[in-house]
């Protein structure tokens, strides 16, 4: 297959005369600032070859990254894609964030700037390769013109253009100014897998050094002259209102600058976060809970489960599932549920805003600088062109930082005081006013024939729909596709299927959480497949293989997991292995978990083997890191994850009641890439989250005979004898 070269239009190439970053000159200081530590720099020395890269006279190449780095390594993988074509020496490469303001003014020159859906490489690889290839050809053209030779006689290597016939060569740093003025007649073709020199090699992440000495700047680390701090308490019941507050107890404290009342929140502004927090603690705001002051997780789940008694919207149908159930030799039935989950990124959400006469500056760690810019413009009432978002390193994202609610609040605070302000949410406030992974309830009925083969599946799900709140028009037919991942379009070949769906809503805000729908659904269906296998008297691995006969690619990944995990080696009573496989975000991931369960029912996950087919790779070591990250994230959710809603509000806000995995509880993690190559470029940040939860639950069944149908595990009685 050949990739058509992607034309970069003339206006996408900004002349070297336009200063990088749109000519911003920012008058703020950062402690211990180094170029590598701050993910933005404003003005750069050097020549901009195109919007994606600047070459300095010392050969330093600064590559703009339009995606957000929240640990998944885009500050390295995106530059690698550009450098693959640019032929620059990797040692000269630095990364900085692309400007959302510039993208707005220059016809979205940075294209998609949101980060999510494991999409960074998948979407941007072709045009980043193109940007690198185009720059390389312009550097070659500049050298060829100086030497009076044909460009075709020259080649680029390790940040130099070389003319072999005459032995001449010049450094990129010497050619950059001329190259910036070159216009190519046509765009060069980009490389294909198999031709790569850099992609597929494990390189150290460029941002690690700044993260081992405290110099990496996160949103919460931004310091602007004359800046003050603020912290917020929002109505504890979502959709509630502030009735009244006596601000005097806070204002009496030394260091408190102001107390701001909002319709749904109170904010204290002070000379430090701690003083602001003390000020807030001194207040006794009276809240109007609104209509939802009695709501609870238990009542929600009862309502979701009740919905399962009726058919709902049929999302997918094949054959006659109900008739096939009637005629089945064995019917397997089970109900499952999954709770609301908080993201719990370690850096509490925060945002720093400075509103001046003709510009608004926003510093924050965001997964979507364009939506941050949009809400900042809207809330400040300024034209978007005047808003500058300086994206920072993200202290965890997991989906939480793709919602700009905290930016909107911070801009509203800044609009009411006359100085730059950093608004920081306390851990408790961050958690309690978060936006959660949806709650869901499931009902399954499956029919097996005399030989144990699956002949029918009826599945009903009732899921709090994210899209129903975000884009109601997208769910007009009663179906939220993001709620149905791995339930519809299943690769398991069951002839008679009825996949039915109930859109649910509560007043609790929901949002995308690492791997989203695939997480709650995979827990349910991959556990239920195990129940079917058990009813059929078949090994869960072999049972899946049979159902996946038409998907050899899935079987290959599944088999590799079983093989690497020594699936058939016997284990002692109380120990067990469980297997699961999920295809999500363009990648196939299988996992085998090995657990020990004490007779009292306490679970220890000892080992997780992961096999992943993401097709091709940019930076393999980062992929292994993302798999481990996904396993730990999934295990925390499986073991302890839930947001308890009582009296309409989230009961718990801090890590004492939101337990997460620590070093001592972390299993041995073995990761194997099973790469199918070709045209496949699958996602990496999320696909290893969905299967790990059911793999663990299936292992618990193997160890104890107890089937887990509700989460978290900490709430289940897993004792055995």
């Amino acid at each position: 297959m050949s990739t058509a070269s992607m034309p970069l239009t003339r206006r996408n190439f900004v002349k070297a005369t336009l200063t990088a970053g749109g000519g911003m000159a920012l008058g703020f200081h950062l402690p211990m600032l180094t170029a590598a530590a701050a993910p933005w720099t404003g003005d750069l020395d050097g020549d901009e070859i195109n919007a994606w890269l600047v070459i300095a006279s010392d050969d330093t190449v600064t590559i703009r990254v339009a995606q957000s780095d929240m640990g998944q390594g885009v500050f390295t993988s995106m530059p690698m894609i550009v450098a693959e074509e640019l032929e620059c020496a990797w040692v000269h490469v630095r990364a900085e964030y692309a400007s959302a303001n510039r993208s707005l003014r220059e016809d979205r020159v940075y294209r998609r700037m949101g980060t999510g859906g494991s999409n960074a490489v998948r979407i941007s690889r072709p045009y980043l390769q193109q940007a690198g290839a185009s720059a390389r050809e312009r550097l070659i053209a500049a050298a060829a013109e100086q030497w009076g030779v044909a460009p075709a006689e020259c080649r680029a290597e390790a940040s130099r253009v070389i003319h072999d016939a005459s032995g001449r060569s010049q450094r990129y740093g010497e050619l950059a100014a001329a190259a910036a003025k070159v216009e190519l007649e046509s765009e060069p073709a980009i490389r294909e897998p198999g031709e790569f020199k850099l992609l597929g090699r494990s390189l150290p992440k460029l941002d690690v050094p700044a993260k081992v000495d405290g110099s990496a700047i996160y949103g919460i680390d931004v310091r602007i002259p004359d800046m003050v701090y603020a912290t917020v308490a929002a109505a504890p019941v979502w959709e509630g209102r502030l009735r009244s507050v006596d601000s005097e107890p806070a204002k009496r404290l030394r260091g408190v600058i102001d107390v701001l009342e909002f319709e749904d929140a109170v904010v204290v502004v002070a000379d430090s976060f701690w003083t602001a927090r003390r000020g807030l603690d001194a207040l006794e705001p009276e809240w109007d809970a609104g209509e939802h002051g009695d709501a609870s997780s238990e009542a929600f789940l009862a309502r979701f489960r009740q919905a399962l008694d009726t058919k709902g919207t049929v999302a997918e149908e094949a054959g006659d599932a109900y008739a096939a159930l009637e005629g089945a030799a064995t019917v397997v039935e089970a109900d499952y549920s999954a709770p609301y989950l908080a993201h719990l990124a370690l850096e509490p959400v925060n945002c720093t805003v400075h509103i001046q006469e003709t510009r608004v500056d926003v510093w924050t760690g965001t997964q979507n600088p364009e939506s941050a810019l949009g809400v900042a413009a809207e809330v400040s009432g300024r034209p978007p062109e005047q808003v500058h978002v300086h994206n920072c390193f993200l202290g965890g994202g997991f989906g939480r930082r793709s919602r700009p609610d905290f930016v909107a609040r911070a801009v509203a605070v800044a609009a009411r005081i006359d100085r730059p302000v950093q608004v920081i949410w306390s851990r408790e406030e961050d958690t309690r006013t978060g936006h959660y992974r949806p709650m869901a309830a499931f009902r399954f009925r499956a029919g097996l024939d005399e030989d144990g083969a699956a002949v029918a599946l009826v599945n009903r799900s009732a899921t709090h729909s994210i899209l129903a709140g975000l884009r109601p028009e997208a769910v007009a037919d009663g179906i939220d596709q993001s709620s149905l991942s791995w339930l519809t379009n299943s690769p398991y070949a069951i002839e008679n299927r009825s996949i039915e769906h109930h859109l649910q809503r509560t007043h609790v805000p929901v949002w995308f959480w690492r791997a989203v729908g695939a997480t709650q659904n995979a827990f349910a269906i991959e556990s239920f497949i195990d129940e079917m296998a058990n009813a059929a008297g078949t090994c869960p691995w072999q049972f899946r293989r049979k159902l996946l006969a038409e998907r050899p690619d899935l079987i290959e990944v599944l088999d590799a997991a079983a093989r690497f995990a020594d699936w058939e080696e016997p284990l002692a009573p109380g120990s067990g292995r469980g297997i699961a496989v999920v295809e999500s975000f363009g990648s196939i991931c299988a996992q085998v978990a090995e657990v020990d369960v004490s007779k009292e029912g306490s679970v220890r996950v000892k080992r997780v083997v992961t096999t992943l087919d993401c097709g091709n790779t940019v930076n393999p070591r980062t992929i292994e890191e993302q798999v481990q990250s996904s396993v730990v994230y999934g295990l925390s959710a499986a073991l302890w994850g839930k947001v308890d809603i009582a009296s309409g509000r989230a009961r718990h806000g801090n890590f004492d009641r939101h337990r997460v995995l620590k070093m001592a509880e972390t299993p041995q993690m073995d990761t194997h890439l099973v790469l199918s190559g070709g045209d496949k470029w699958g996602g990496v940040g999320e696909p290893a989250v969905p299967p790990v939860v059911p793999a663990v639950c299936n292992a618990i069944f193997a160890a104890t005979g107890k089937r887990v149908r509700d989460l978290p595990l900490a709430d289940q009685d897993l004792s055995w004898s």
């Binding site: 402690p31 929240m70 390594g73 993260k211 081992v212 405290g214 509490p348 070093m663």
Partner: protein
């Protein structure tokens, strides 16, 4: 006035006695390498050394640090040359990186008391939260740093 020595530099501070050390470091001294994660000594992102001992600075009032030596991540080495920093880079440990200052400071205190830590020692000492789940490479890097430190001293 409170006298505080941070990374070898003496500071005279006009801070309230009960202000946690974390916020003195971050909001008064602008030493932002030490992080805020929970405020209740649960996550360890705020770990610094007080006279060489690891403490969670979000719950230690600055008065308790007065007259003592505070070391933060910025003071661990002048040039990322501490064996842990080198091992962290070698094993590409950091992901989002937010917890890493606290993890490294906790590990540095561990290596001081146990120059050749066992897995059990690491499990016991390393109770900081990492939401990116870098625990496995972190364990490897701690052992590697112990090796590097022994190479230097031998």
């Amino acid at each position: 006035m409170i006298t505080l020595t941070v990374n070898g530099t003496r500071h005279e501070l006009d801070a309230e006695a009960n202000m946690p050390l974390l916020w003195v470091l971050r909001d008064i001294l602008d030493l932002t390498g030490t992080k805020f994660g929970c405020g209740v000594a649960q996550c360890g992102a705020c770990t610094v050394h007080l006279d060489g001992e690891p403490i969670r600075s979000c719950v230690i009032p600055v008065s308790a640090a007065a007259g003592r030596e505070v070391t933060t991540i910025e003071g661990l080495s002048p040039d990322r040359s501490h064996p842990l920093q080198q091992a962290w880079i070698e094993y590409d440990v950091a992901q989002c990186g937010y917890c890493q200052s606290g993890q490294i400071m906790t590990a540095a205190a561990l290596l001081r008391t146990k120059p050749a830590p066992t897995d059990a020692d690491i499990d016991e000492a390393m109770t900081n939260i990492c939401r990116c789940g870098t625990y496995q490479p972190m364990r490897t890097a701690i052992k590697r740093a112990a090796e590097l430190a022994r190479e230097v001293s031998s």
